[in-house]
Symmetry: C3
Subunit: 276 residues, 3 copies
């Protein structure tokens, strides 16, 4: 049976790419979508993903998709292998559709349990003609998203593909050292210079349980970065602190300043949490 | 009595933030809005406000809001105090609604005389659950804007708040020195490198009245920057000039060039006008 | 007879400017459009054109416009001569409308053969009042686009203007040297660092015909840059290659890297193709 999108809700097509805003790549995708699905509401998640940065794309998609209405169609074009034989996947999960290259982003974001169906996109009937070798965003992703918006079902796009067969992204997860230290890393830096780590509330709860009554210390590149807070203003202006950000990840921030600049930090830097 | 938005006009929700476009913060706000108000038209005023730059936000809002249709809902999320006890305000003025933190932006933009009502936003019924401590744009501003779009009245949001009670922004206004010199400053620099000052047409009219028949000189950081013009091309290519910009503020520009670069200027630099 | 837009298709207003996204210039244009044409769908082609870079604007418009539906209204505001006596042109071509300053962009993009009508925009009835000298995007282009969206015909805007009378842009076309070398240049660099040249598939076909059986070499700033490929992954990661990009222009790229950075290249650099 075909899963159906809930068209009673206004569905939205979102775009998540590494195209930047300096030229018309994203604009052209919108032209293609609106040519096929004239009434579509299109929202830019962001086009500011670092060129070919799959882990950043996965992070943005994970923290954003749940805030969109049922029926939303998320189009992810961060695609270092464009034009090769890498597959393109459409997956139905949690009442939304996800369209992305088979490069690991979707399995990094979607729990297999919520995925009701995944198909390989290969029916050229729903693509522009000809399909270029270098801009599948325009020639495949945009028109397929528009046809999905118009109501075509998964079976029209191509054969089913078992979820476990998809490519996996190697994501560095936090781990416990022999000394009982939690070792994670900075996975994203936002415009405010906040350092978002791969350490989650769940990890923090384990630390708090383990170290009940003890002092907790947070090290960035082996240097202490202050205490925990609940919001930025819990530190004095210019001072660093750690807090659980709005998506459930540990952040290191500087109140009214930039932790990236003040702490000379960047993506990939090590973050360690220990109990003293 | 509740003021009503004119829903005959197509109302628009505008977003003015310092979120940048590198990640999905603004996109997520749109997801929340469209989940609650599916038909809403959303316009980005800009997400390029310098991090936590309240004066720049006030300047952009002031010059932009009057070009939007009656019923428009302007959402301003430049909010250094997010998650503290600072209040959130919804104000009705000139047939539009303004939703912003109580940090001085609205009183800097709206003449008290045009404000018909202001309320403190505190009814959690119109917010996401839970409300995070660090992303009120997503959890409060976006859903409240969507509910306003859907027609809820001010009384539903929270108690009335007298306009004079709102926080005030300290804005550097131009002043007259003892020598009769008008001393202002650069308050914004646009992408073309045009230097926008806090000196208005009204100030210039006073100078012209005062110095009738005399030569007028404009100094940037105490260095003369050329004469007055009406449009950029009134100076030779590469030459500086002063003119009244499209929003009524004195600008210093370089025809076909960047005044920021050519004159090594930046926000905060002093601008003086004297009659010789 | 007036040409009519096909309003059965959903028409779209696109914006192509050099305004950047740091402030509300583009947002204000949308406010004006939606005040006059409440249901208009507005798409940003890009606001990232380099300040006053007419050739880049022409390139973006040329590669983008054909992907928009019939009836689309393309608004181009890259306008170094704003506020002077330069004309503003509306042109009907291929079922779309193009609104731009008379500075050469349109003749660089539109084949005279497809242009069914061009008029000079001068009826102030369709402009904001007053019209500023420095922001015609807001005061003329936006409201005229909205009125076109609402269905006014060309005759209402101003007198017909013969296409050959429009200003021409000097575009550097590739040429053949005496030695039979094709000499072109880099005309754009995208966010990935791909170098887009003014050499087209047609030029390449001529080279292939001429040099049948011979080896072809591509030089960037007189240095060889590797062989031809069909997509980025045809070179090893970090290696350069040349390929025909998605819009039919020769590109020099580096697989999983930036040709701009690796080859220290920029817009204007010379590209030569020779047969050995």
């Amino acid at each position: 049976m075909e899963p159906f999108l809930n068209r009673a809700a206004m569905s939205v097509i979102t775009l998540l790419t590494d195209f930047g805003s300096e030229n018309a790549y994203a604009g052209v995708m919108k032209g293609v979508i609106l040519s096929i699905a004239p009434g579509a509401a299109i929202v830019d998640l962001t086009h500011g993903i670092g060129p070919q940065d799959l882990t950043q794309a996965a992070h943005e998609l994970e923290t954003a998709h749940r805030y969109f209405p049922p029926g939303s169609i998320h189009v992810i074009v961060v695609d270092p292998q464009v034009g090769t034989h890498r597959r393109i996947i459409a997956a139905w999960a949690g009442g939304q559709v996800f369209l992305a290259p088979d490069n690991g982003i979707l399995p990094a974001v979607l729990d297999a349990g919520v995925v009701t169906r995944a198909v390989r996109v290969e029916n050229r009937q729903f693509c522009l003609k000809p399909v270029s070798r270098t801009f599948h965003g325009r020639d495949i992703f945009a028109p397929v998203a528009a046809h999905l918006f118009n109501g075509i079902g998964p079976g029209r796009l191509g054969p089913d593909i078992p979820w476990p067969d998809l490519a996996r992204l190697h994501l560095d997860a936090p781990y416990w050292t022999e000394d009982g230290v939690l070792a994670g890393m900075v996975i994203a830096v936002d415009r405010f210079g906040n350092l978002i780590t791969n350490i989650t509330e769940t990890h923090l709860a384990a630390i708090l349980a383990k170290g009940a009554g003890k002092k907790i210390e947070i090290l960035l590149n082996r240097i202490p970065v202050g205490g925990f807070g609940q919001t930025y203003a819990d530190a004095a202006p210019g001072d660093p602190l750690a807090l659980v950000g709005s998506s459930g990840y540990l952040e290191i921030a500087v109140n009214r300043g930039s932790a990236r600049r003040c702490l000379k930090a960047r993506k990939g830097d090590g973050v360690r949490i220990l109990t003293l």
